[in-house]
């Protein structure tokens, strides 16, 4: 039973446009959410997080939105750059553990 779902396996976006990556969760007890970025042959690296008491967190080109009533979060990347091409994982914190989604492959075309 997947508690964190990323329903889009891949996304293709033109350079300079907005990338929107989506994530849904089922456990209303999650109180912290994170996005990780992973390049091939490297480990995931932390990108941005949001507490469940907030609905938005921004860091440069990256913004995460949380809609608790819909149990949905999204990552916006504006403007998208070719170097953003990677796999993006949504994750939720449960105690000391992370529960990951399946990931979305983002391709930014120049």
């Amino acid at each position: 039973d997947q508690q964190v779902k990323q329903n889009s396996p891949s996304l293709s976006v033109q350079e300079g446009r907005i990338s929107i990556l989506n994530c849904d969760y089922t456990n209303s007890m999650f109180d912290y959410f994170l996005w990780y970025k992973k390049y091939p042959a490297e480990g995931p690296t932390f990108l941005i997080s949001i507490s469940s008491i907030k609905d938005k967190n921004e860091d440069g080109r990256f913004t995460v939105f949380l809609n608790k009533s819909a149990k949905h979060l999204s990552l916006h990347i504006v403007p998208s750059q070719p170097g953003d091409s990677a796999v993006y994982f949504c994750a939720a914190i449960s105690g000391d553990k992370l529960v990951f989604g399946a990931g979305t492959i983002l391709r930014v075309k120049s």
């Binding site: 912290y32 990780y36 042959a41 480990g43 000391d96 989604g101 399946a102």
Partner: protein, 115 residues
């Protein structure tokens, strides 16, 4: 800067072998984790440890065991490797959540192939 080091980037082993994957972190983190990453399944937690000699099962512990004899080192053991354990294995570490909300830091992974 946090450094999580996995001893091998690539490993090829045979069915039935006992396989050891090693991970070392240099940030004095209490928590250490082992995941496997498979296409379409994301990262799945195998085992984690929140202290020396302590271990907790994750979501998919079958066929694996772990060892944490020192705080900085966490080993994953495949007791008798099988072909369905061919995967990318990722080690991570973090402070205890009650101490810090810092995220987990990952190593670069070990691509393990079981023939």
């Amino acid at each position: 800067d946090v450094k999580v080091t996995q001893s091998s980037r690539y490993l090829v082993k045979r069915t039935g072998e006992k396989v050891f994957l090693e991970c070392v972190q240099d940030m004095d983190h209490e928590n250490m984790f082992w995941y496997r990453q498979d296409p379409g399944l994301g990262l799945r937690l195998i085992y984690f440890s929140y202290d020396v000699k302590m271990k907790e099962k994750g979501d998919i512990p079958e066929g694996y065991s772990v060892s944490r004899e020192k705080k900085e080192r966490f080993s994953l053991i495949l007791e008798s490797a099988s072909t369905n354990q061919t995967s990318m294995y990722l080690c991570a570490s973090s402070f205890l959540s009650r101490i810090s909300n810092q995220p987990q830091h990952f190593g670069d992974g070990t691509r393990l192939s079981i023939l």
